[in-house]
């Protein structure tokens, strides 16, 4: 039997599966009941401290609470109390309190270091002097078997796989009965593409919880990487104002694709919450069929009138608050505003030309352009065939409506599996 009377710096480790069911005894060693669950306080420390126990007392159906302070000796076989008086009122949870067996065992958690979603099969506790803490989650099949089979069958012969609790994120939405604030700052430090891969494996309430905790721009990048079914579920389950903040930060074409999958009443609610500019762009994009150049294009692009000098154009670029993800191509209009598209200048042209030269002298006049109603696949093939980075979309009067970029064109041409292997060109 492992005893808690540890001298000096010795730490004693227990598995939760061993501890549950331990006998609870009075100071005179008279049996009082059995241990049902452990109450921990989450949020404050990396390794949550055990505050107390839930004990099933003979003759009473609801478990009663025993504070850690009332425990004299603790081991995996028995709990010796320092008092034989128990508060027999049934246990009510307070905010921030989590039950280890009920709320954490069998639930999914994120192993941040391993970048994977795993299920908790068992948990490890460590007692150091007078403090008992949750230190690790066990995700091994051995941990699962330890809870299915009798103790003598397993008897710690199988290798466990432990993940330090400081590397774990778990979800407040799994414990709807109490108010929990879990910051998820470990996930937030990952790259949006990695966050997306993790979130993809979660159920949408937990995925929404993660996204709501991220900065809006990180959340937007993450949502853009998700499968449409999950991203729509997340956007529709978040509070409209939070969802709108994320949509504002997304590429307008991606935001439009996402909203196109939602019922109309929700879309209208979200558009109302979005920034006026962003909402107008998205609304415009929503009017084009999904499989047309219009449905594929983004309205986020840079255009100049042809009379500008290179110097003026560059300083305009510098002054613009937010630039699109990719600005290799700068579109040239005959006048401002509402000009016709007359040419395109690459960023390279701009950088390498003398500052005083006029845009119209360095631009390329002969350019590929698509009509908003052109089939998406045709436009994508043109982009692929001529190795373009982007292609402008115009209306009948040659007014520039938007731009189809090569990354969206790839989505149309390549099957999903291929896309995953391609590096992100512009992010």
């Amino acid at each position: 039997m492992v005893s808690s009377t540890t001298r000096g710096g010795a730490t004693v480790l227990y598995y939760l599966s061993e501890v549950i069911g331990a006998r609870v005894k009075s100071p005179a060693a008279a049996p009082l009941g059995t241990l049902r669950d452990l109450v921990v306080q989450v949020g404050a420390e990396p390794f949550p401290r055990v505050k107390g126990f839930l004990v099933i007392v003979g003759g009473i159906t609801a478990p009663v609470y025993v504070a850690w302070d009332a425990v004299d000796r603790f081991s995996n076989r028995e709990l010796l109390l320092s008092t034989s008086r128990l508060d027999l009122r049934s246990f009510e949870r307070r905010d921030g309190e989590v039950l280890l067996a009920k709320d954490i065992l069998d639930k999914q958690i994120v192993d941040v270091a391993g970048r994977r979603v795993v299920r908790v099969n068992d948990a490890q506790l460590a007692q150091y002097q007078r403090v008992l803490r949750l230190v690790a989650a066990d995700v091994s099949t051995a941990g699962f078997l330890a809870r299915v089979l009798p103790r003598w069958v397993i008897d710690n012969r199988l290798q466990r796989e432990l993940i330090s609790w400081s590397q774990v994120e778990f979800f407040a939405s799994e414990v709807p009965q109490v108010k929990l604030t879990i910051p998820h700052n470990k996930i937030a430090r990952l790259h949006p593409a990695d966050i997306a891969e993790l979130v993809q494996e979660l159920a949408y309430p937990q995925a929404s919880e993660v996204l709501a905790s991220l900065e809006d721009d990180v959340a937007a990048d993450t949502v853009e990487e998700l499968e449409p079914s999950l991203s729509t579920a997340i956007i529709s389950s978040l509070p409209p104002e939070d969802a709108a903040d994320i949509l504002d930060e997304m590429d307008p074409d991606d935001a439009a694709d996402l909203l196109g999958e939602l019922p109309v009443d929700q879309v209208q609610g979200l558009l109302k919450e979005m920034g006026a500019d962003e909402a107008a762009q998205v609304q415009q994009l929503l009017t084009y069929p999904e499989d047309s150049a219009g449905g594929m294009m983004t309205t986020d692009f840079v255009a100049f009138p042809e009379q500008l000098t290179v110097h003026q154009a560059l300083s305009r670029l510098r002054r613009r608050a937010e630039l699109p993800d990719q600005i290799w191509y700068l579109y040239v209009l005959d006048r401002e505003p509402n000009g016709r598209l007359v040419g395109v200048a690459s960023l390279r042209d701009l950088v390498t030309s003398p500052p005083e030269s006029l845009i119209k002298d360095i631009m390329t006049r002969d350019i590929f352009r698509a009509q908003a109603s052109d089939p998406a696949e045709e436009v994508a093939r043109t982009i692929a065939h001529y190795n373009l980075l982007a292609m402008p979309v115009v209306d009948d009067a040659d007014h520039l409506l938007g731009v189809v970029t090569v990354d969206d064109a790839i989505d149309v041409i390549l099957p999903e599996e291929w896309q995953r292997r391609l590096p992100k060109l512009f992010r």
Binding site: D106, R119, V139, R147
Partner: protein, 446 residues
């Protein structure tokens, strides 16, 4: 992942078009950008699950019911439709509220021991149903005289490689089109001039016979109408499609429509067999007997038509069923899963999937195995195992910590527990009649 693609395939979308028009009334369209895909995405899962109920086992059971008792058992089809709606609605709602599959929820709320129990139940039910799908393949080819020793191993190999290569979806459309053959039943039923007054009367007024065969067919009907795997399937599909509580009201309408639709087809199978086989005192022993019900429409091509439909339905389920089972079980235990991983990355998933197909095909090859009887027995076992899974489903759907404000109401729970009690009671009755009664030397007349 092939499972998800099942309800994305164009043929499914085409099949559910009538419901799309229905759905149009609920949603106002955005100008030009027609969210047809969105409608279908929300609409699809229930329809798929509902139609999958009429697989080889379903056809055999409904045909036997019609051939043995005429219209007499129609009332239980009506009754089990109500139960089917109740059960599927709970599963769909759980999927929409939690975003989790049934096996995941069982694991999270009931712990590892109950999970092992539930997964074993599901494994037995689905394993047997897989056997019945291969029996359907065998029976359909034997209608045109091709031996099962050739067709079953080949079809098992084809299904295994298609699914593991991830290309099952492409071929699946062919199977789906083949199942359209079963739409011949309503026409055939009308052409056979049944006594419609009797049909309506039997549907509304229950009658019961206290004999083993009657109870056997009753349990089989329930087992094939409320197939255990369908409930798991409908919940996973709601999750895969990303349907949330906000879109759930559409999903509910669809579950009801889908259940009514699939059981309407079942009703016509019973009516047409009753009007052709029962009146001529022919009971069903082979697939050729069952095909007679399509003669009023197809004449001498009845066997062919029946065979095509049976083959399509069987191949469809023989691919989806082992896949869905392997998914559910690996999901519950937290193992790696999916055909996008290779067998080294997801060993348990591949072992399970392969074992289900190999065993399913191998059992069908036992010499002189009567296929139709095998199909019926499998449905009965499904009916016996169903109460165990229903108890989990009803408890989860009424749990406040899982479902919050979307948990079952009192009235709904009366229906749900009513279903559990009736199904469980019948299961006990059948066990008493077939196992206990003969041991006591008492033989129920039948």
């Amino acid at each position: 992942m092939a499972l998800r693609d099942v309800w994305r395939s164009p043929v499914f979308q085409w099949m559910v078009r009538p419901w799309v028009t229905f759905r149009d009334r609920f949603l106002i369209k955005l100008p030009q950008r027609i969210p047809l895909a969105a409608f279908l995405a929300i609409l699809g899962p229930g329809m798929v699950a509902a139609n999958a109920g009429n697989d080889a086992g379903g056809i055999a059971t409904y045909a036997s019911v019609g051939a043995s008792y005429g219209y007499e058992m129609l009332w239980m089809l009506a009754l089990s439709t109500v139960s089917l709606i109740v059960v599927q609605e709970m599963c769909a709602r759980m999927g929409a509220v939690t975003g989790k599959g049934l096996s995941e929820l069982i694991r999270e709320q009931f712990g590892p021991r109950w999970t092992v129990f539930a997964m074993l139940t599901l494994l037995v039910a689905n394993g047997l149903t897989t056997i019945s799908e291969f029996a359907g393949v065998a029976a359909s080819f034997e209608l045109v005289g091709i031996s099962r020793y050739i067709t079953v191993p080949i079809s098992a190999l084809i299904i295994w490689s298609l699914v593991t290569q991830g290309s099952y979806v492409k071929v699946e459309r062919v199977f789906l089109v083949m199942t359209l053959a079963f739409f011949a039943y309503p026409i055939s039923a009308v052409l056979a001039h049944p006594d419609w007054g009797e049909v309506v009367r039997s549907t509304l007024i229950p009658s019961f016979q206290m004999n083993t065969e009657f109870i056997f067919l009753f349990v089989a009907t329930i087992g094939t109408t409320i197939t255990p795997y369908m409930q798991v399937f409908v919940q996973s599909s709601v999750v895969e499609k990303g349907i949330t509580v906000r879109e759930y009201r559409y999903e509910r309408a669809e579950v009801i429509l889908g259940s009514v639709f699939s059981n309407l087809v079942a009703l016509f199978i019973i009516v047409s067999t009753a009007a052709t086989l029962y009146v001529n005192h022919i009971t069903i022993n082979t697939a050729a007997d069952a095909a007679i019900a399509l003669e009023p429409l197809a004449g001498r091509f009845a066997g062919l038509l029946f065979g095509v439909g049976l083959l399509g339905a069987s191949m469809l389920a023989a691919g989806v069923l082992p896949l869905a089972t392997a998914f559910s079980i690996t999901e519950a235990f937290g193992w790696e899963k999916g055909v996008s991983l290779n067998p080294k990355e997801a060993p348990a998933f591949y072992y399970l999937f392969t074992a289900l197909i190999v065993i399913g095909a191998a059992v069908t090859l036992v010499p002189n195995l009567p296929l139709i009887q095998l199909l019926l027995v499998v449905q009965v076992v499904n009916g016996l195992l169903l109460p165990a899974l229903l108890v989990f489903i009803v408890q989860l759907a009424s749990d406040r910590s899982v479902m919050g404000n979307y948990r079952n109401g009192f009235g709904f729970n009366v229906l749900a527990w009513g279903t559990v009690i009736v199904v469980g009671g019948l299961a006990i009755l059948l066990i008493l009649a077939t196992v206990v009664a003969p041991m006591l030397g008492w033989s129920p007349s039948g």
